[in-house]
Symmetry: D2
Subunit: 320 residues, 4 copies
């Protein structure tokens, strides 16, 4: 993988110098025809030259991405990434980390910086929250994924985290994408809730193009006319993204549904659809959560779900 990544990057660097001669319509049309060509056509000095896009799947097949010592990818185990929506206190995150690890989670999630629709909602514990996450890692051994919202916070977050999450509302924040593209940490890129799959791949391309080859794509629900759930989980994104890119693809059923009751069935479906990992919110007292409490699984429900996820993974020839 390292060699391949270098080659991909070299070719893209070339393209960046002549970027203004490319139009997005070309690959988009090919994308709609059913496949994202691994080659964009580059016009330079009057000539035409093919080159690789960095995200496109080609003969080398799929990549895997390491978060701490846990690898995500098509040829790896299916991984459970669990934790609360927000880090609320040291006791809370230590307790939840211990609980989810016992049930089978291998990566810890938790927000220290929270993007909220209203400025009057809880905005996160910031650096204090990061410290608590690092303590939870020290205690449990679980690597930590947490969200970055502002390029200026990146250096601080890199001191504590094992993976940087770019949230759904920042998928088109190109300044942030470029900045995490220069980080040594892997990036978990969430699909914008109204981004096409083409948009998502192009946002990954921003990160890859800065030299960071470790990008994980995450489907988390899109905005549609239906109001029964919070968003509409688009599970077909999993096989489609996998056919067009070499990147790991994971699913966050919690934020898509917004309702605890339906998270287990959609988690099972996501594994069956081929997701390389699931990101599931678990909270030890959801009714007291400072954000999104009614969507988090209780530890008991989560513990009961894991064996069923294992069975579905086995049914499609994978382990979890």
């Amino acid at each position: 993988m390292p060699d391949d990544a270098c080659e991909r990057r070299a070719v893209a660097r070339l393209s960046r110098n002549v970027s203004e001669t490319l139009t997005w319509s070309a690959p988009r049309k090919e994308f709609l025809k059913g496949k994202l060509s691994p080659r964009l056509r580059l016009r330079r000095n009057g000539g035409v030259k093919n080159f690789l896009t960095l995200a496109a799947r080609d003969s080398r097949g799929s990549s895997s991405v390491a978060i701490g010592d846990v690898r995500l990818g098509e040829h790896e185990d299916v991984v459970l990434i669990c934790g609360p929506c927000s880090v609320e206190s040291k006791g809370q995150i230590l307790s939840i980390a211990t609980i989810v690890k016992e049930s089978g989670a291998r990566i810890l999630r938790g927000g220290a910086f929270k993007p909220r629709t209203s400025p009057y909602s809880f905005q996160g514990l910031r650096e204090e929250g990061l410290r608590f996450l690092a303590e939870a890692r020290a205690k449990t051994g679980l690597p930590v994924v947490t969200e970055v919202m502002d390029p200026r916070d990146l250096t601080m977050i890199e001191k504590y985290a094992d993976c940087l999450q770019v949230g759904t509302r920042n998928m088109h924040n190109f300044s942030l994408l470029k900045e995490v593209g220069r980080s040594r940490l892997p990036v978990l890129l969430k699909r914008g809730f109204s981004a096409t799959l083409y948009d998502l791949i192009m946002s990954a391309e921003y990160i890859l193009n800065e030299g960071n080859p470790n990008v994980v794509l995450c489907e988390r629900g899109i905005r549609t006319f239906d109001t029964a759930a919070r968003y509409t989980l688009d599970l077909s994104a999993v096989p489609i993204l996998k056919s067009k890119t070499h990147l790991p693809v994971i699913v966050d059923p919690t934020h898509a549904l917004g309702l605890r009751e339906f998270v287990p069935q959609m988690s099972l479906a996501a594994v069956a659809a081929g997701a390389d990992a699931l990101m599931i919110e678990v909270h030890d007292s959801p009714e007291q959560a400072k954000s999104d409490g009614n969507q988090a699984l209780t530890p008991e429900i989560f513990a009961g779900l894991v064996p069923r996820l294992r069975a579905v993974a086995a049914a499609i020839g994978r382990t979890l």
Copy 2:
């Protein structure tokens, strides 16, 4: 079930006499809160009285619906409903019916009346197509599902079919819903491609309210902004519909995706999500199909998929 159905119907008949005093906003609000109340509030003569909606899930749990001798429902086997998009010739339908039966399908589908966006597209073989379907049933023993588009065709179709399909473009055709509600045959009601789940349940209610208790709900993809697939398959509809109604819920991944390549993964995901049946298009020479050829599975792909579907069904405790 028969007694229950009568009771439900009696209550609804009552409501119909006083229908103008009800507003849909009441149950819709409750629906959005996370549960469709089995009781609508009825205001009559200044008083308020609760009564049952016919589709709502209550303490009696789920229903099962028989198509020919095959039962669909939460406590039944997961069923495969297969066949071509359109009936094109006697040879074609007999051949495909034999092939899909051998691979494990238990119900035959095929369109004799085709709703097409353009009046210049192939509109179906009509009664000739129905006769071919009946011959295929005679040969294979598979019961037949076929679409009805016009109330005036119903008597003819009832002579040949075992189940009436109301298509996505007719989910809000209330005249047709009432007409199939008076049929002795079960009805497979497809979700409108821009119908909310509440809309779908209310359309089922039109059928149930005419006295036909045998309604199967079918998720088949909704229209969203994304253009990677033909529609966005909303698998969360499966657990949500099951929590709110007692009716069987099935999934049609073929029309949702519109691309053969991704149908297998979404079929596996649909079973994992709890679908009671899958409707999958299979065509023995897709490249020559008169409609929607690039979405049908080949017999080989279908035969390879069935054991994987069985494994996922087993993983969640069901048989197929």
Copy 3:
């Protein structure tokens, strides 16, 4: 126009006999490129032949359609089509018809058959409602537009109405489209709330193809993620439809908004966008309406709006 209409129809009849050789993808691609070609490419007997679609705009420019003695079209006055959502009683419709005529309306609307999401909502007065509409016409001279939902009701409705409305939920009811295509009355075809403009034009084509050249297209709001209004009024449909078809294009702001408060501004905007008519609900006691009362204008608001509509029409060089 009559000669043109005959010619258009003759060509389409030709196409119908060979319909299975056409695929919708061809004109759709051209539509997306920015223009609907007036010529579909017809492959027959191995050759390729161009022919006209009936709805497409060509060098002959726009058509006008007569409803009673009122003409709708690009070169006609902007027309106001007003009345209540449902006909509720003889007194109600006579009173409203008189009021809206005095303020400037030239066509009367009112539903006798009502498509309702729930079977327990008011379904309309049916033939009694049609009789009341005819009485209102006799009293005021206003021609009458009313909705047809079932092909079997058509003969009855034709006895009373001057124009047949096909509602948003029936835009894809192809049986109904064909039936009104054989009527002598003009057809007001509402856009399905999730129909693309291409879908709408193809549904018009179903009517034109049966020999009825008098079709009026109506934008009435589409389903989107936004919930501030009932639907999202897509006014860009007006210039786009006019550039691609020769048919009159009108706007129904009432059903789009669902809120009386915003109907006046959107009516003004619709005239500025080039609408050939507006369909506006007016009710003399909205708070007591049996359906959709909170969206109808009061007679006072409507009377105040008309002079402002006239001023905007004059500003773009039209009369109202």
Copy 4:
């Protein structure tokens, strides 16, 4: 206005200290009921206290916002904000600025930092582009609006611009919103292409809450299922936003349509709907533009449109 703004801000500061006790669901429900209450309910120390949101309309009516010496607002002239999509060269921006000023534009727009879906598209001239914009202002007297994408660029942009634009892809970039909220310059906030109106108002609230009272809201098209135009221009946003907030509301028809052909009619409609300004792209040689050339008006089309816009403005009682 200054005193009012201070009062509003003081109250919001109060709320920020206790922000974690508020949930967004409360005002959203009120918003859906048809009005955004100017008062959020604040629970603190077990008690409940009402306070103002900063964006909400109340008895004080509308605000006006000054960009350079041009005022935008309900009681001001309708303003034309014109220029190219991107600043491409000094000659280009000086030429276009002169042309649009002559035709009636009062504010100059042009992008120096360009958010692009693909990293391989033209990304803008950056500071050089800002210098060219300042030269165009020196020559023509037109104040300048330009986009800011990264909080770290703000100080530089403030040296050249008269108004900061936050683009559609950054409407949920809360770090950026807070940063421009601390600027002395007014902010033109574009609606996210899949943001509800409630989301848009809450993003404005982020800016207002930092102490910057000068926010202009801009409707620029939303993502829907329809593909005839690039986005669906939601003109009903104009009266709805005006009824719920005191902020100026403007419309960008160019980016919504993406097709030059339909921009004039939608500009007329936007003025009729009550827009306080229009943002229209004009390019002197659109076919050679480095971005979005097929949507810009030519100088000739623009010059012909202005008198028609004036006539519609006059028809609704405003000047332009």
